[in-house]
């Protein structure tokens, strides 16, 4: 199927997938506070507006903090589990791995409701930590899967070699395993970070009225009418995501990270 028709098909779908972003980027340049496409007039004021207005900067800051902490915690949970499962085949690690995959097997609404009930029972409802910890356990699937993929690419002979050269278990981990899975850890972190930045329903149900993350802010302001500023925010978010994934692809094998087999060009 690698013919002209095939290429056209791929190109067509890729364009359709990008279409909403093109339009959103377009309307963000409108001069007046109306959303036209193609834009009428051209201005970058909406971007300046977003970057100087605390109405937007507040939620952006909240989201960045939540995402950074949640990502860090998720990776810290996932790394020992994946490692113990891979290196020592510990049964408890396998069980935790299975548990960690559950969030992505279920509609997020169910997890969100679970978190809502849990946090109101133990008294953390509406707090910053309720949002952050909920995000970290919800997103743990990503580092679990990606770090495990990374570990599987490590040839066991590397470990034997390090061992014969005088490295203890801890030194093997520090000098061989960690450097080799670092791209995967980085990739998983980027993925987690962007997902947390954009996550709406859990943040909304756990602390939606007190901890205003960026997605909550966007949805709330949609109720009061549209403005090109929201398009500008969206453009920022899309660019941030694309930039992060590009960086990941530069430093690691992105195709391998999403589970594809490595093929030489």
């Amino acid at each position: 199927m690698q013919n002209r028709f095939g290429k056209l098909y791929v190109l067509g779908i890729a364009l359709l997938l990008m279409l909403p972003f093109i339009v959103v980027a377009g309307v963000s340049f409108n001069e007046k506070k109306r959303l036209y496409f193609p834009p009428r007039g051209f201005t970058l004021d909406w971007y300046k507006d977003v970057l100087s207005n605390s109405e937007w900067l507040g939620p952006i800051g909240t989201s960045l903090t939540v995402a950074a902490i949640a990502t860090f915690v998720a990776v810290c949970i996932a790394l020992p589990i994946s490692f113990m499962m891979w290196r020592h085949g510990v049964l408890f690690a396998k069980a935790l791995f299975g548990l960690g995959l559950v969030p992505f097997m279920l509609p997020p609404v169910t997890s969100a409701l679970g978190f809502l009930i849990f946090w109101s029972e133990i008294g953390g409802y509406g707090s910053f930590w309720a949002t952050t910890i909920s995000h970290s356990v919800f997103l743990v699937t990503i580092p679990l899967m990606m770090i495990s993929l990374g570990l599987e690419t490590i040839d066991e002979a590397y470990l034997d070699a390090a061992s014969s050269l005088g490295a203890s278990e801890a030194e093997i981990f520090r000098t061989v395993i960690l450097p080799l899975i670092l791209p995967f850890v980085f990739g998983a972190s980027a993925f987690c970070f962007v997902l947390s930045m954009n996550e709406y329903i859990i943040a909304f149900m756990v602390a939606g009225f007190t901890v205003e993350t960026l997605p909550i802010k966007v949805v709330n302001s949609l109720r009061y009418g549209y403005s090109p500023a929201m398009a500008a925010v969206s453009v920022f978010v899309v660019l941030a995501a694309a930039g992060l994934f590009l960086t990941v692809a530069r430093f690691g094998d992105l195709l391998r990270m999403v589970g594809a087999l490595d093929k030489p060009d």
């Binding site: 199927m1 690698q2 013919n3 095939g6 791929v10 779908i13 890729a14 279409l19 909403p20 972003f21 339009v23 959103v24 377009g26 309307v27 959303l35 036209y36 496409f37 915690v73 949970i77 020992p80 113990m84 020592h88 408890f92 548990l99 960690g100 559950v102 969030p103 097997m105 279920l106 509609p107 997020p108 609404v109 169910t110 409701l113 679970g114 009930i117 849990f118 910890i133 356990v137 743990v140 278990e169 962007v194 997902l195 954009n198 329903i201 909304f204 149900m205 949805v219 549209y226 398009a231 899309v238 995501a241 994934f245 590009l246 692809a249 195709l255 999403v258 594809a260 087999l261 060009d265």
Partner: protein, 293 residues
């Protein structure tokens, strides 16, 4: 007995045991058990609690929350959700199969940007995507302007709220998920099969349908189920692009929990949804294991 004791050599005690190392699993174990397993267990319990009218809930064991499923509002929402997600799943996988197959044959320099595009859409969540689609389907900035310009329409119109709008947005959202689900097995797919078909006289398209698709049957079935479950999670699109009559199960759950303060009923629906998803995913896991050995 005593003879055995002397003849069976005593194994050396392990000096490279892993026991003390498993301690490192305690912190992540605690995190997952407390902050993930507990919420689900409590939610399960709450689904049997008694709802105090106009208030919260109190511990009890009643089945009224589950009995409320027979409410026609719930049943129609359920039926609508399942049909919508089934359609989305079938369309997504049908489009994604040839797309992924073609992409996986392309140069790395093309594959990487496409994967980045897919990851962006997948991670952007419904907020930004929903917002984008409301613009794209709107009267002032939407696709209808193009149709006017082409002379097909007299004046621009808005395409939402409507069920078609929900479907378009959900297709856009679920397509990357479908591709990334089938990408790993397709990239491992043995290329010599279609090549063998080509030597036997099958054209590329024919080889795709007669060799590639049947060989990846298990992948397709599991992709259908995974995309279906993924689509069931859509929550904002039905609200942003549809009318209350188009709301799906996910929306009903939040509606009950947040705005109607009926948490036990929301929990019951949520448990029900979990069971459906678990059953589907475990079922298809068994099925594909059986067919693919």
């Amino acid at each position: 007995m005593t003879v055995q004791d002397t003849t069976i050599p005593r194994p050396l005690p392990r000096f490279r045991g892993v026991d003390h190392k498993t301690l490192i699993l305690i912190p992540p174990g605690i995190m997952l058990l407390i902050f993930f397993l507990c919420p689900f267990l409590i939610m399960g319990a709450v689904s049997f609690y008694y709802r105090v009218p106009d208030g919260f809930y109190e511990p009890d064991f009643v089945l009224t929350n589950y009995a409320a499923f027979f409410d026609p509002v719930f049943l129609t929402a359920l039926g609508r959700s399942l049909t919508l997600c089934a359609v989305i799943s079938v369309v997504c996988v049908s489009l994604a199969m040839p797309f992924t197959y073609l992409v996986s044959q392309m140069r790395r320099g093309i594959q990487v940007p496409i994967v980045i595009l897919l990851l962006c859409i997948l991670t952007l969540s419904e907020v930004i995507l929903g917002f984008s689609w409301t613009i794209l389907l709107s009267r002032t900035a939407g696709a209808s302007n193009v149709l006017v310009w082409l002379g097909i329409l007299d004046r621009p119109i808005s395409y939402y709220p409507s069920r078609v709008a929900i479907m378009i947005a959900m297709l856009h959202f679920c397509f990357p998920f479908a591709v990334l689900t089938i990408y790993p097995p397709i990239s491992r797919f043995d290329r010599s099969l279609p090549e063998a078909a080509a030597t036997l006289g099958a054209g590329p398209i024919r080889a795709f349908f007669t060799v590639v698709i049947p060989a990846l049957r298990g992948t397709i079935i599991s992709a259908l189920v995974l995309v279906f479950v993924f689509a069931l999670g859509a929550y904002l699109f039905p609200q942003m692009l549809g009318r209350p009559a188009d709301w799906t199960l996910s929306v009903l759950i939040t509606d009950q929990a947040i705005y109607k303060s009926n948490i036990p009923f929301a929990a019951a629906m949520s448990v029900f949804l979990c069971i459906i998803c678990f059953a589907l995913i475990l079922g298809v896991g068994k099925l594909t294991k059986k067919t693919e050995g």
